[in-house]
């Protein structure tokens, strides 16, 4: 067991107890408090924890479809720290300040826009730190990731937006991998207990092979995500690539999961649709074709 594995399992225990999937249908301020001040998870960027640790934590938040703005807050802290912009770091680290990201420049539908203390906005390829001046909550099909239409102050220029975007890419990749992994586990549990034709569903090869194919898709995305999270030399290639692959895997796994669950998977009661909808929030905000092309071009292949 390495340190990162310990971190992973501590976070998993914490989230399983304090933020199980269903709890994320509603906001739960105490979860955020415990996650930041008790567990100290928001201070990782400021403490110079490796990016791989952050990715591991985000992966865990994906498993429970965490509602709180962990992802944008730590991405913002990491990006601001990298840019040498210290002003908000203390607040972001202790959790008293949360962030939202509008790194594609679009303010009409900002994830976690409702509660954000600061917003990182990209204008072209330049990064600005802004504050919200108007907020209009939006209803979304995705019940675990709130969004808002916002307006922001002129803000302060902090540098290039490129690295911040790559950090966002790797974070979404990690979240997608964690969520897809959880769904696949749930599917397998179901295939083991549900019997039809006198045998467990999981003994039918059509379903076994489907599970294996989803596994390969997911393992591939995980390998690319972990690779990028290790901040290799070609991070700027690996990060967008990982997001593209992971978001594709997330959509495929959650879509197939509903099929594998059968009727029960089509119900409001079941968690399958929560994962499925989160996958689509992610996928629609991820132009995976364009990200692959971006990575391809950056690689000089």
């Amino acid at each position: 067991m390495t340190e990162i594995d310990d971190l992973r399992s501590a976070v998993r225990d914490f989230l399983t107890d304090n933020a199980p999937v269903r709890s994320n249908l509603e906001d739960n301020p105490s979860t955020w408090k415990r996650l930041s001040s008790e567990m100290g998870l928001t201070s990782l960027p400021v403490e110079d924890a490796p990016l791989s640790w952050l990715a591991a934590v985000i992966e865990e938040t994906g498993r429970v479809l965490l509602r709180q703005p962990y992802l944008p807050t730590v991405v913002a802290a990491t990006a601001l720290k990298a840019a040498g912009d210290e002003q908000h770091l203390a607040g972001l680290a202790d959790g008293s300040l949360t962030a939202a990201l509008a790194l594609d420049g679009d303010l009409t539908q900002v994830p976690h826009g409702l509660e954000a203390g600061i917003v990182l906005v990209a204008k072209g390829d330049e990064l600005w730190v802004c504050e919200e001046t108007a907020v209009e909550p939006l209803e979304t099909l995705d019940l675990t990731r709130p969004a808002a239409r916002i307006q922001v102050s002129a803000g302060r220029h902090v540098g290039s937006a490129l690295h911040a975007r790559d950090l966002e890419h790797i974070s979404y990749a990690a979240e997608s991998v964690g969520a897809a992994q959880r769904v696949l586990e749930l599917v397998v549990e179901h295939l083991l207990v549900r019997t039809q034709f006198g045998r467990p569903l999981g003994s039918f090869q059509a379903l076994r092979h489907k599970v294996a194919d989803l596994t390969v898709l997911l393992e591939a995305a995980r390998s690319s995500t972990w690779y990028a999270a290790g901040e290799p030399e070609d991070f700027a290639v690996a990060a967008p690539l990982a997001r593209a692959l992971a978001s594709e895997a997330f959509v495929t796994v959650t879509g197939e999961a509903i099929q594998l669950f059968g009727g029960i998977g089509f119900t409001w009661e079941h968690d399958a649709h929560l994962f499925f909808k989160r996958a689509w929030t992610t996928a629609l905000a991820t132009d995976s074709k364009a990200l692959k092309k971006l990575a391809f071009d950056r690689s000089g292949a």
Binding site: A212, V216, S223, Y227, V237
Partner: protein, 381 residues
Amino acid sequence: MTFRDEVASWLAEHLTGRFAPLVGTGGPGREHENVELRREWEKELATGRWIGIAWPREVGGRGCSIEEQVVFYEEYAKAGGPARINHLGEQLAGPTIIAFGTQEQKDRFLPGILAGTELWCQGYSEPNAGSDLAGVRTKASLVDGEWHVDGQKTWTSLAHLAHWCFVIARTDPSSSRHKGLSFLLVPMDQPGIEVRPIIQLTGTSEFNEVFFDDAVTASDNVVGEPGDGWKVAMGLLAFERGVSTLGQQVGFTREYADVVELARANGTFERYEAELVDAWASLQVLKHQALRTLNTDQATSNGVEANVNKLLWAPWHKKLGELAMKVSGSAAMLTDGELTPLQNLFLFTRSDTIYGGSSEIQRNVIAERLWKLPRDTWTAT
């Protein structure tokens, strides 16, 4: 001098002169190329102690770390080193003997592999035992201190060149399935063995039928206990860590670059851009997956890394072959009798998803080993 420099400079010094024609030759679908010279090359590698680099020092290997092995494969591929004519000896027979063999067997067989003088082939598959290897029918029995082997193997790669074959045979006639099998080492040059080439869909031939008609081998030439052949045959898979996969990827990268270059040169890049970019993305994944596998130890292994690797690279490679043809256009079907490298890629990759555990079998293994899903059992009524 770093290890990388050492490898690179040795190759630069030796893969020239009479060996220059070997650059980029051999390999799947092209094993018929430069056979004699590649046998010489294997001996040349031996002089530099480049055979068995992963083997422990005690048995004459170099005891290279995983990182060093990766470096070796990368540099070898970069230099265009020819496909190794005794990979079955170095990668399968040798490691099996090291893991399960007696001291006498190590002393007898490893030096020939390390010297590049004794070539090996793998006698597992039979007409009635393919994916279901436990169905082997080739029999062997001990008579007067010798094993007598009868039966037929098939798809035996490079059997026509090999000096030795490792054979899975049923030594307990009353046994069935995984029990009662033995792992025998059988010399190929004897009256009881006949090798008949099989022409592949590439039009070339590198695998064979091998007929055993009272073929003999010494009683000592059984690896592990008689009856433990299944364990020995499977044991090897446990050591598989995908090191050579990284070397293989240097080759994949070159093949991919050739396809992209062709697309740019003949103006089809735009038309196939999405497929070319996807293929590139998957190629990166192969690298990431292999690196992750290498960094995985017993404790963190999910037990199916090798299966995932195979399901990633084999279909990818097959698709690359198809893409190569599409990029080339109709003229890709024209031939003067010799396959072009792209045609060979296209045709040979049809086998990638069949040999070494077919894609379907890999999926079964993932379902069973990782997810513990029950087997799909069919019982004759």
